[in-house]
Point group: C2
Chain length 303, copies 2
């Protein structure tokens, strides 16, 4: 197949799966992306698993490194899963080793974290765990070939909301401060007061919906002094498209300038992350450009 | 070099050249992109040169095709050059054979045109020539393996302005009508009434600046019923960034939705086109996604 045929075939497959996170859509997307992965993506990559960053059994992270050289940008990844499920890796699954292997090939160190899940952990527990993990990265990056002055934090879906909370609430930051050069939110809900009433959301944000509005990140993100890369997908859940559009519109009203929001053509809620490292990867190249623009120590890039 | 190092090195090189179209910036950008081109990009590609689409000596076009199969999307490219210079190809230059070779590899047929230059040709002469060329493509695409029902029209800088005029002025269309599935504008001036007063602009738009405003395309593009892919570059000439921002802001005001404008990180006025087919190509993957989204006959894609 030519690249155009691959792109067109992936688009039609993802469109056919529909935007909703049904079991068929999830298994269909993961199978499609897994089949497109280079099976040798982790060759030459050292994976240091289940390193401890806090007291809870979910305070564990995996480090992906070439084992050579040092001073590389560090990409910290926070998985999705509706606040209630998900994990940094699973036996037999290529995810999120795909992200780890891609990152090492691209010249980074990757840190993929677990965090406490709802309902055990409620808002802002995810952001608290990220603060712990970032503290661990600042203190341990150099030992794994990373540069603690060039840390990028990325999350998808619920993971993106945890990242957004970490950005929006400086009070949660640890002794090293925010300690980021940039942040990446893949398919995030920004305006929590408008979020759908469903069991997953109640498990994390609580039973009292009147309190949800104060848990949103939209206003803080629009004012943030940190480079952001935001994405939403053409075939995303409509709720995520709606929130992204609201953020972009608010950004235009506030700044009269481009929002850092990228609408990913032909992708769905899951495919940008599961597709990293494949031959139809759209997010990886965006991440490379973003990190290249903002990874110079001491330089504050254009927002 | 890792991909991240390549992206960072290209970014720094282009930044160092500055945004202005000086001889040093032009030669530096072309040299940088030429060095990154795969020298085998045209292997297996049939180039049919200087086909005649009209009576003027500049009414000539080159077709790039695999020579195999048929029914492929056709990408028509209109070069830039400030209205007064530029050409589809030059002896010893890899441009725009880079675009032709990339397009054939991607599964398309490419048509790269010359058009009459200012001051001999004044507004809307460029759009008139495009109308002729599109008519030629509709009638001759099949003979070169292309599908006349799936024509995409792209231009850069002055070439983008000619494309924008073609889109904005249905009165110029030939007997086949607009005959497009989508259009691509790379670094375009949209609001001609606000354009800089310089000799190139006067050569094409005329000495009477009071008439320039009516020659703009911004309002028409915002209302257009055709899929658009618009780009501007981070290190573009400030005037192009200003016009792109105005188009995007007007689009938000009109549609409350994403404009089709892409701000290309780390690129300058020339690098997206000269970089097509290189290993730091940012425009090629965007084009593939755009064409995949809109190349199905009979389907009107989302704008």
């Amino acid at each position: 197949m030519t690249p155009s045929e691959r792109a067109a075939a992936q688009r039609e497959s993802l469109r056919a799966l529909g935007p909703h996170l049904t079991p068929e859509m999830i298994s269909g997307t993961t199978a499609l992306c897994a089949a497109a992965l280079d099976p040798g993506l982790l060759e030459g990559v050292e994976v240091r698993r289940d390193l401890v960053y806090g007291p809870h059994e979910r305070h564990r992270l995996d480090v992906y490194t070439s084992g050579e050289g040092g001073g590389r940008p560090v990409l910290v990844y926070v998985h999705g899963g509706g606040f209630v499920v998900g994990q940094k890796s699973a036996p037999g699954s290529p995810f999120f080793g795909n992200l780890g292997g891609w990152a090492v090939r691209a010249g980074y160190v990757a840190v993929v974290i677990n965090y406490r899940l709802a309902p055990e952990s409620t808002w802002p527990g995810g952001a608290e765990d990220i603060a712990r993990a970032i503290g661990w990265v600042v203190e341990n990056a150099a030992a794994h070939g990373g540069d603690p002055e060039r840390i990028f934090l990325a999350g998808q879906s619920a993971g993106a909301m945890h990242v957004a909370d970490y950005l929006a609430q400086p009070g949660l930051h640890g002794p090293h401060g925010r300690a980021l050069s940039g942040a990446v939110l893949v398919s995030c809900l920004y305006d929590v007061g408008r979020a759908t009433d469903n069991p997953m959301h109640r498990a994390y944000w609580g039973e009292d919906r009147s309190r949800w509005a104060a848990m949103g990140s939209l206003d803080a993100l629009v004012e943030l002094d940190l480079p952001l890369l935001l994405t939403v997908s053409e075939f995303d859940e409509p709720e995520f498209l709606d929130h992204a559009r609201r953020l972009a519109a608010t950004w235009w009203e506030r700044h009269r300038d481009y929002p850092p929001m990228h609408l990913l053509s032909g992708q769905n809620h899951l495919s940008p992350i599961y597709g990293i490292g494949t031959d139809t990867d759209v997010l990886g190249p965006l991440l490379e450009r973003f990190i290249a623009a903002h990874a110079r120590p001491g330089e504050r890039g254009a927002r």
